[in-house]
């Protein structure tokens, strides 16, 4: 068969130019074979926290050790691996019932979610908390179809809080980032308190509507099965508005001071919510992974100062690496406008590998 000339010449030549073999030894990573990293990691995770969680390596999902919890709405989340402790670290009493880790930075598959859903369904219905990425949304939809076909009541709430992305009906919309962690905690507490699926769904929408985030990167990260940095960032530049998978952001600019960067992240959040004097907020300053706490607290301190000076009350805080991008250096800020219910549920006991208080 004769192929058209344009194909065999131009297209093929582009396609072939860049392939090269990848050896794990090329990478500064504590891994064995890249294709085994997720299973080996969740196996270790399960061994470390066997009192709190159970790891199922048949279909790769993590449930509470005592699943299914009876007479409560079950919360299932998931997404690509590489964002640890999210989501596996949030499985436990008062937060998630199950988490489904995909390949690194790749949405999990419907069968994982379906198996997880069946394993945690306690009869009061299942809420899927989904970060707004096409892959996550589509795969969770397929899983929900499968579960509903077996008579399980399933609802999904899609988190889309990243102000770095312009929202629009005509696009995939905003990404889901930091607010996901807060929604999982708050809705997990509501489920634990016996709220109905309908109520937990409404609450989750409410948290999403009141949470906004923006992140930045100083360096790229390297996905194990790719073997080289996701993007190149010159020595004197940073990326503002980065996504948690190394997706390019809003702008690339020269390095700036922590104070300036904090303002660049916080200003669009405050404007978008919008926040007003006397509002009470939860301030969540997150490390993308490679940024040490020493620096993260500098950013937190400045963000706290800016909000306080604007008359906004920082009523609750979360600081640390909670929704990460492997070893990427950088930080994100999430602000959640609180009401009494959210504050109470935030304070409620939680007992997971990554977040615990009140128990």
């Amino acid at each position: 068969m004769a192929l058209p000339a344009s194909f065999s010449l131009s297209f093929l030549s582009i396609l072939i130019s860049c392939s090269h073999a990848i050896l794990p030894q090329d990478m500064k990573k504590l891994i064995n074979l890249p294709e085994n990293v997720v299973v080996e990691s969740i196996t270790g995770f399960g061994a470390a926290f066997s009192n709190l969680v159970k790891v199922h390596t048949n279909a790769n999902y993590i449930t509470r050790a005592d699943a299914p919890a009876k007479d409560k709405v079950a919360l299932v989340s998931g997404g690509g691996s590489g964002h640890e402790p999210m989501h596996g670290g949030f499985v436990g009493r008062g937060m998630l019932d199950a988490a489904c880790p995909g390949a690194v930075f790749t949405s999990p598959t419907p069968d994982q979610m379906f198996e997880a859903t069946k394993a945690v369904n306690g009869g009061k219905g299942v809420l899927q908390i989904v970060k707004n990425y096409t892959g996550d949304v589509l795969n969770f939809e397929m899983a929900a179809d499968l579960a509903r076909a077996e008579g399980i009541e399933v609802e999904a709430v899609v988190i889309d809080d990243d102000v770095a992305v312009k929202d629009s009906l005509w696009t995939a919309g905003r990404r889901g980032v930091g607010t996901t962690v807060l929604a999982e905690k708050i809705c997990g507490a509501a489920a634990e308190a016996g709220h109905s699926l309908k109520e937990v769904v409404a609450l989750c929408h409410n948290v999403n509507a009141n949470g906004r985030s923006m992140g930045m990167a100083l360096t790229s990260c390297t996905v194990p099965h790719v073997g080289k940095p996701t993007f190149d960032l010159p020595e004197d530049e940073m990326e503002i508005g980065i996504g948690i998978h190394g997706e390019p952001g809003r702008t690339r600019t020269k390095l700036k001071s922590a104070d300036e960067i904090t303002e660049m992240l916080l200003a669009p959040i405050v404007a978008d919510l919008p926040l007003r004097a006397r509002d009470e907020v939860l301030l969540f300053v997150n490390s993308m992974g490679g940024t040490p706490l020493l620096e993260l607290f500098v950013v937190y301190g400045k963000a706290h100062e800016i909000l306080t000076k604007a008359g906004i009350k920082v009523a609750r805080s979360l600081v640390g690496p909670y929704i990460t991008s492997l070893e990427m250096a950088g930080a994100s800020i999430t602000v959640l406008k609180l009401d009494n219910q959210m504050t109470k549920l935030w304070d409620a006991p939680v007992l997971t590998p990554a977040l615990r208080w009140g128990v």
């Binding site: 949405s107 419907p110 990425y133 892959g135």
Partner: protein, 210 residues
């Protein structure tokens, strides 16, 4: 002209796996530019899993074969492409239940049903800078060619050209669906990864189904 046999369909998938294996780093690079850098790895993982099921997928009817391909892609890829290519083959399989061979016209309907599944699942349209920009013109070109009485070899060859033009057309576009949409205007100037893997799907077809 002879019909497409289920063995040929399997050969198509096998060839597709080979092309993806060869191009996976390139596809990943395309995805790194405007997405998250995993499209090549995703497709490769899925198609290798399909190959591993060769024994059970060969020597069945086209419906069972394509359903097996679909379920394997869905359960091993994850990501947008897993759901979308999976849906493509799942919907395509419904047109071939119990059949061990397909006429050229039937193969066209199979492709159309698969594409309809992608559109329904992903809610993207032509010009959104997705795989649809390669798949839709390719399938249209195939159908038109067959309808005008040309042989399947020519129809597939035209489909490949149309897919390539579709891929090229994605370069200047601003993405409206998928991860690339987060980039807004910065997504322009890059070919869409999914459209690239779709070109390979038609190239594999042209190489095996004639």
């Amino acid at each position: 002209m002879s019909n497409v046999s289920s063995n040929q369909i399997f050969a198509w998938i096998e060839r597709y796996a080979a092309h993806i294996a060869e191009q996976k780093d390139y596809l990943t690079e395309l995805d790194a530019a405007i997405g998250d850098g995993d499209h090549g790895a995703n497709m490769h993982r899925g198609l290798q899993a399909v190959l591993a099921k060769k024994a059970e997928l060969q020597n069945t009817d086209v419906g069972v074969l394509l359903k097996g391909v679909a379920m394997t892609l869905i359960s091993t890829i994850g990501g947008a492409s897993g759901a979308l290519y999976g849906t493509f083959f799942l919907q395509a399989s419904t047109t071939a239940e119990g059949k061990t061979e397909l006429s050229s016209t039937e193969f066209g309907s199979l492709l159309e049903k698969g594409l309809a599944g992608i559109v329904l699942r992903g809610k993207a349209a032509l010009g959104d800078k997705t795989m649809i920009d390669a798949l839709q013109p390719a399938i249209k070109a195939y159908k038109r060619s067959i309808e005008s009485g040309e042989v399947r070899e020519d129809a597939l060859s035209k489909a490949v050209s149309a897919a390539e033009r579709g891929l090229k057309s994605t370069i200047p576009l601003i993405a409206r669906k998928g991860r690339a949409s987060y980039l807004g205007e910065r997504s322009a100037g890059h070919p869409d990864p999914g459209a690239s893997s779709s070109v390979l799907l038609f190239r594999s077809a042209a190489e095996t189904l004639c």
